[in-house]
């Protein structure tokens, strides 16, 4: 066999080898040092208190679930803009079944209703080949209207409920590991460099953790395992990379896409259920607040992988939590972090010869730093924008360097193989 091989394309490093254990450890410790320093410099202890961490988790999970739903769908090649609508269906399902039957039935109801939305999207895109984004947008309109209509039907006249909300729903059980909880809280209160920060993070994880939170976190691990370590996952991913190749090998592409979108809807619904059952204790009109879309942004940020997605969700949850807990003052403190982050990014971009991008990042960093120095606080009314601005910023900075599944968004018809 001749040894001459003409390389068609320049070799790209496979993403799985980019993140070695050492690198990850380095990144985590770097982050801990940075945030601990920021806490000590700005004097805002709430920056990473256990209360903040807990709230971050609660804020991150719905976004993460939506993002996970998006991940399943897009890995099979279907873009799912309708996550917001499926989430809304989930909030209603949790409120309705949660109130009339019980909190666990609420969880199941949320998943089922979300999956129903997924079914509609799947029929439109997979069976009929409708443009994915159009179908998603239509689904959002339908879901919103349906839920508003059904809420009026289900909750008017019910004690504690009304046209736009359900009565309070019973809580799901929460877990606390007493042996660890108190000593960690103690360590946190000492405000020591890095040690107390670690204590607060661990403390939040062992105190009053809702069972649903555990369930949702485990879904990240489960997703990673199923999609990358099983035959089912390989086939599903192949549908999003090269459906013609998959079909030529006997994979039922249509069935896998359908399944993926149903799972996607279920996950988004679960995220909605989390909003109604853990983040709040009832269904409320408008509860989702755009988290379906923010979840998509987290998915893109995470390069269509569960670990990146979790990181991204935590990031969004964190900024939102800071705003809620500390208001304008804390967001003001966050500005410093953002400015430093942008400058570090600018340096990194410069070394990768993305000079124009580096200059833009540097300029933004300087602007934010100036804003921090000149003002004392961020006005309340504007602080509400934080999660959305963060999304825009994240997308603007990271959209270009990422690799989405090769056949994402394409309409596929059976028999296209060969």
């Amino acid at each position: 066999m001749s040894g001459t091989q003409t390389v068609v394309r320049a070799p790209k490093k496979s993403s799985s080898s980019r993140w070695s254990y050492a690198k990850v450890l380095l990144l985590i410790s770097g982050f801990l040092i940075l945030i601990s320093a920021a806490r000590l410099i700005t004097g805002v202890n709430d920056l990473d208190s256990s209360g903040t961490v807990r709230a971050t988790l609660i804020a991150a999970i719905p976004i993460g679930m939506a993002g996970l739903g998006g991940l399943w769908s897009e890995r099979a090649g279907i873009v799912n803009i309708g996550l917001e609508g499926m989430m809304i269906l989930g909030t209603f399902g949790a409120g309705y079944f949660g109130y009339f039957y019980g909190p666990w039935q609420g969880v199941v109801g949320a998943i089922l209703l979300g999956a129903l939305g997924g079914l509609l999207h799947a029929i439109a895109t997979v069976t009929f080949g409708v443009d994915h984004i159009v179908s998603g947008v239509a689904l959002n309109i339908i879901a919103l209207g349906a839920v508003q209509y059904l809420a009026v039907l289900a909750f008017t006249g019910v004690p504690g409920g009304g046209q736009t909300q359900s009565p309070p729903v019973e809580n799901l059980p929460a877990v606390t590991i007493d042996a660890l909880s108190s000593p960690l809280a103690d360590l946190e209160d000492r405000h020591w460099f890095v040690l107390s920060d670690v204590a607060s993070i661990l403390g939040a994880l062992v105190t009053n953790l809702s069972v649903l939170t555990l369930l949702c976190l485990s879904l990240f691990v489960l997703t990673w395992w199923v999609l990358w370590k099983t035959a089912f996952g390989l086939r599903l991913r192949s549908c999003g990379e090269n459906p013609a190749a998959a079909e030529s090998l006997g994979v039922n592409v249509i069935r896998y896409k359908f399944t993926a979108v149903l799972i996607s809807g279920g996950l988004a619904g679960l995220g909605g259920g989390f909003l109604a059952l853990v983040a709040a204790s009832q269904f409320r009109d408008g509860q989702t607040g755009g988290r379906g879309y923010i979840g998509l942004a987290a998915m893109i940020f995470g390069n269509w992988r569960p670990t990146g997605l979790l990181t991204g969700s935590m990031l969004f949850g964190y900024t939102d939590t800071l705003r809620l807990r500390g208001g304008g003052d804390t967001i003001h403190g966050l500005l410093l972090l953002v400015a430093v982050g942008l400058v570090i990014l600018a340096v990194w971009q410069w070394r990768k010869h993305g000079q124009r991008a580096a200059l833009v990042a540097a300029l933004l960093g300087v602007l934010v730093a100036v804003w921090y120095a000149v003002t004392v606080s961020v006005p309340e009314g504007l602080a509400g924008m934080t999660p959305y601005l963060t999304t825009l910023l994240v997308l603007a900075l990271f959209s270009q360097r990422l690799r989405m599944p090769a056949a994402d968004g394409l309409s596929y018809r059976k028999g296209s193989a060969g």
């Binding site: 066999m1 001459t4 003409t6 068609v8 394309r9 990379e241 006997g250 994979v251 193989a417 060969g418």
Partner: protein
């Protein structure tokens, strides 16, 4: 011609039916308005390489899709190892022991070799260590030189084809179909592939080999079946027939030979490229490329796909922003001009992929006539579109270039590939260009349209047109070009005279191996 064939196209040799692994009888397949296969009869024996030849559009690929379960035949029977089978999907075919290596590789770039190989057949050896061991075993046994953990996106064409072969053997195929396997290989790689095929044959496998390259077919096949217009014409033993005779069977008449006539090359330099360089992620995509084309001259560029041809074309058309170097058309430096301005300065462009770059499939023909020429008569008057003018001119093109269509309101996607290409040629010529950049101008086009297109290009050359011709069809290059250059890894590595060059010489230059 020396043959012992019957009308149904099967060799009348007694007593060897037990050796027949694939028997097709009366296969027919029709698509809306088009008959793809009609009464096809073929016997394939184990331990042989059986070639199926026919020109572009004869129905070979449809036949193979039927044998692989991608399409169901409308009529006829398929017998594998003596048992009638119904192949409703590739899974059925794989179960029956049929494996297919497609002309366009079915590989997912973002997955590893191992993931691509096990996909769909994970039960055979799992998806982890077991599979890895088996892949290495097959790779060693057949000399395929494959690393299971490499990312497919990083691999070249030859390696990808070997992965496709490994995929098929991994699944225990005893009947292997190869669809135009040599279309992406240079002569030396073709020899290596044929060695592999002979090894497979010796192991008792049956190899079915689709091609329209008669010399190659005769050098490796034992039996040859000729297909024309969807039906089997004849089946002969390869040793009993010459390429000429096969060609006549294929076409039914004399092939138009792309021979050069009197030279029309002048001394007026139309295109001058100097030091054209394009950086890339790991090596330069174009490296100091320089050449000249005169009025009345066709410069052919030969090379294995992926060595810079498309980058060269896009650089000249202004579709890439990071190139440096001088590009001058008729003494005017166009390197800073936009694509639109370059077209306006007199460059016509026939893109390699007409569906992606040459046409708006969902638009009617007259709107497609405007595409690429929307700043000039007769399509526009001022800022407005001149509908009447465009429609009239489209009608003219349809007549002059023999574009077969019921009307100019038909959407472009409804036309056959050949007619689409004729429309594009007509459109580009109408702009009275000085320079024509033609990238694979007759790819996927039936023989009649191909001959017509060659004729148009030669006539334009006679009138003073300069042509940059990129092609993977060595016959086309040798037949049309006045000069041939070879591109390898972004550099021009050799100049040849088409009248005296041999395919072996070209092949060596194209791969960088010494002749």
């Amino acid at each position: 011609m020396n043959s012992t064939t019957t009308n149904s196209g099967t060799p009348a040799e007694p007593g060897v039916d037990a050796d027949v692994v694939v028997r097709l009888r009366g296969i027919g397949k029709t698509f809306p308005g088009v008959i793809a296969n009609d009464d096809v009869n073929i016997d394939v024996r184990r331990g042989t390489v059986h070639a199926i030849v026919g020109e572009n559009g004869a129905g070979k690929s449809t036949l193979m899709k039927i044998l692989y379960g991608v399409q169901r035949p409308d009529s006829g029977t398929i017998e594998i190892n003596g048992t009638a089978v119904d192949l409703g999907s590739p899974a059925d075919a794989i179960d029956a022991g049929v494996g297919m290596v497609f002309q366009h590789f079915m590989l997912a770039d973002n997955l590893t070799v191992l993931e691509n190989v096990v996909l769909g057949s994970e039960k055979l050896h799992g998806i982890g260590a077991g599979a890895r061991t088996e892949i290495s075993r097959i790779s060693d046994a057949y000399g395929l030189d494959i690393d299971p953990d490499a990312m497919v996106a990083d691999l070249g064409v030859g390696a990808r084809q070997r992965i496709e072969i490994l995929k098929v053997i991994f699944r225990g195929a005893k009947i292997i179909i190869l669809d135009e396997p040599t279309s992406v290989l240079v002569p030396q790689e073709v020899e290596a592939l044929f060695d592999n095929l002979r090894e497979l044959k010796e192991e008792g496998l049956a190899v079915i080999f689709i091609s329209h390259k008669l010399d190659e077919v005769l050098s490796v096949a034992d039996t040859v079946t000729v297909v024309r217009r969807g039906t089997t014409i004849d089946t002969v033993a390869a040793s009993s027939v010459t390429a000429q005779e096969l060609a006549e069977l294929m076409v039914g008449s004399e092939l138009p030979s792309p021979s050069t006539e009197e030279s029309t090359v002048t001394t007026d330099v139309i295109l001058q490229v100097e030091g054209l360089t394009m950086p890339g992620p790991s090596r330069k995509l174009l490296s100091d490329v320089s050449f000249t084309i005169h009025a009345g001259e066709i410069l052919g560029v030969a090379g294995v796909e992926g060595n810079g041809q498309s980058e060269l074309v896009e650089a000249i058309m202004g579709m890439r922003s990071n190139t440096t170097g001088r590009i001058a058309v008729d003494e005017v430096n166009i390197a800073d001009l936009s694509t639109r301005e370059r077209r306006e300065s007199g460059i016509g462009y026939i893109p390699a992929d007409r569906h992606r770059h040459g046409l708006l499939l969902e638009a009617p023909l007259w709107e497609n006539r405007i595409l690429g020429h929307q700043t000039r008569e007769p399509n526009v008057s001022g800022p407005l579109i001149d509908r009447a003018g465009a429609r009239a001119d489209t009608q003219r093109i349809v007549e002059e270039y023999d574009v077969r269509t019921p009307s100019i309101d038909v959407l472009a996607r409804a036309l056959s590939g050949g007619n689409q290409q004729k429309l594009i040629i007509g459109r580009e010529m109408s702009g009275k260009p000085q320079l024509l950049v033609a990238s694979h101008p007759t790819r996927g086009v039936d023989v009649g349209a191909q001959a017509a297109i060659w004729e148009h290009i030669k006539r334009a050359r006679h009138d003073g047109l300069a042509v940059l011709l990129i092609s993977a069809d060595l016959d086309e290059l040798i037949g049309l070009s006045d000069t041939i250059q070879v591109i390898l890894r972004g550099e021009m590595v050799g100049t040849f005279d088409p009248a005296t060059v041999t395919p072996k010489e070209l092949g060596s230059a194209m791969t960088g191996a010494s002749a």
